[in-house]
Symmetry: C2
Subunit: 290 residues, 2 copies
């Protein structure tokens, strides 16, 4: 069993390819993804996810914890033919951040009209930055509009994005044709922010108790989910279904829309995070560094 704790040599292309393979496999039913486990402690929590892409040599068991606002995480890679532990990836949650960024960027790129080069991001945390920088690896982004609850956080994110070569402007309110939401909000964001959006990607509802996209947003749009059951259970899709805006079978899987054939239609994507992408990325990292 090898311990891997340095991921600096991992190129984004490897992550994109691994995530795409997992999303397509998941859409085709070729993954093994049990419901996650959650442990609650006095001062924090830990979520355990597991996943496997049928045909790949490994599966993964992942921990993701949060204590006092500090996140931690690890991935254990095991052989899917013997059960033996192959590698322990002490990534402190980095691969999860990357696979989330890659999945969001892939679906945002596939469903946003090709001439759109201004994007709004709502939320100012690590995923706000990653969703924009990883999207910029797939298409030209001329300007990022930033929305946050605190103006100083908007300014800081704009500085970070400029440092990575992306023009960025704080104070977003309305008007963007493409909006990506990355908040931990328990309540819907202002509907006006999505007024002109052809495509919206929401990545904030990774666990129960969150909900950032207004249910009304789902009306009349192509609805895309990374996992039907999870999104119905605790994603914004589920909130919209329970609000009576959309039918519980109205969604289609991300893996089925990645070829960009729906870019001219209004769409919304709800991502909750699936263990199969973890398994695929961890397996690819092992192929590179193991």
């Amino acid at each position: 069993m090898k311990v891997i704790d340095d991921l600096r040599a991992v190129p984004p292309e490897l992550v994109f390819d691994a995530v795409k393979a997992a999303l397509v496999a998941h859409a085709e039913g070729n993954t093994v993804v049990p419901p996650p486990m959650a442990l609650d402690f006095a001062g924090g929590d830990c979520h355990v996810k597991a996943g496997h892409v049928v045909g790949q040599p490994h599966f993964v068991v992942k921990t993701a914890s949060s204590f006092g606002g500090r996140n931690n995480g690890s991935m254990l890679l095991l052989s899917a033919t013997t059960g033996e532990p192959t590698a322990f990836i002490a990534d402190n949650g980095l691969l999860t951040a990357w696979r989330t960024a890659a999945a969001g960027a892939l679906v945002t790129d596939a469903l946003t009209p090709q001439d759109v080069d201004e994007v709004a991001v709502m939320g100012t945390g690590e995923q706000a930055r990653l969703q924009m920088t990883w999207l910029a690896k797939l298409r030209k982004i001329r300007l990022v509009h930033v929305w946050g609850r605190r103006p100083e956080a908007e300014v800081l994110l704009c500085q970070q994005l400029r440092a990575e070569g992306l023009d960025a402007r704080p104070g977003y309110q309305t008007g963007a044709a493409c909006v990506v939401t990355t908040t931990a909000s328990p309540d819907p964001l202002p509907l006006n922010a999505f007024r002109d959006a052809v495509h919206v990607t929401g990545i904030g509802t990774d666990m129960p108790g969150k909900g950032e996209l207004p249910p009304e947003l789902f009306a009349g749009r192509i609805v895309v989910t990374d996992d039907h059951d999870q999104c119905l259970d605790h994603g914004d899709f589920g909130h919209a279904v329970r609000a009576g805006v959309v039918a519980p079978q109205a969604d289609r899987p991300i893996g089925a829309v990645l070829r960009g054939q729906h870019r001219d239609q209004r769409s919304v994507a709800d991502l909750t995070g699936i263990g199969a992408t973890d398994a695929s990325v961890a397996g690819a990292v092992w192929s590179l560094l193991g």
Copy 2:
């Protein structure tokens, strides 16, 4: 993060103490034990369990896999105050075998009359051997009666037990005052084997699809479970409840009967295995070897 792969220095007393502490804490509601995860593959399966004893510094995420009859397993110990991985215990399932042996021996000893020194064990695998040798660490065992489907397996287990200093006799059919069942049977064992049993411990129903104790056995006995929900779901207790022999609230937790106050009454214990014992044992191993 430290990798621990040599457990030879771990004394049985440490395992008994850790398991007892976890069973008592679990009985008092002072544990965190989410439902296990299961992954099924073309050639095998993997179960992931997690657990924590409130007040202990760590929690554990455990994998237990079976491919082509070959078992594997590992435990990841994490800090319950920061979420950081503390140790990876590459035990190949050994700690699970020990904590199962300890839990079974503790309840068998606590509920079997003190003058009983002949015990019957049904099943001839690793747990049959361990249940007897660990019980012998808690009380004098003059003779072990062995029951198996294959006579040659009975003889082999008797040889193994004698090599560990326990007199053992193959060909058990009926008459023992204490019976421990350790089979992977999907169907109930012969009722006659339990005819004279004051106490019966069943440890074979660790996952759905198994069932070794005849439902009739539960009638009129003190019923003890290691976890009410798990035993109701897939333990022999649940089979007996669904057969109408016993009420769904008739059981009491192991942790509440370990003081030996029920030794004169007829009893049956159903063990399905709980993650809190894994956490407690792994934490104790870390205290010793970390």
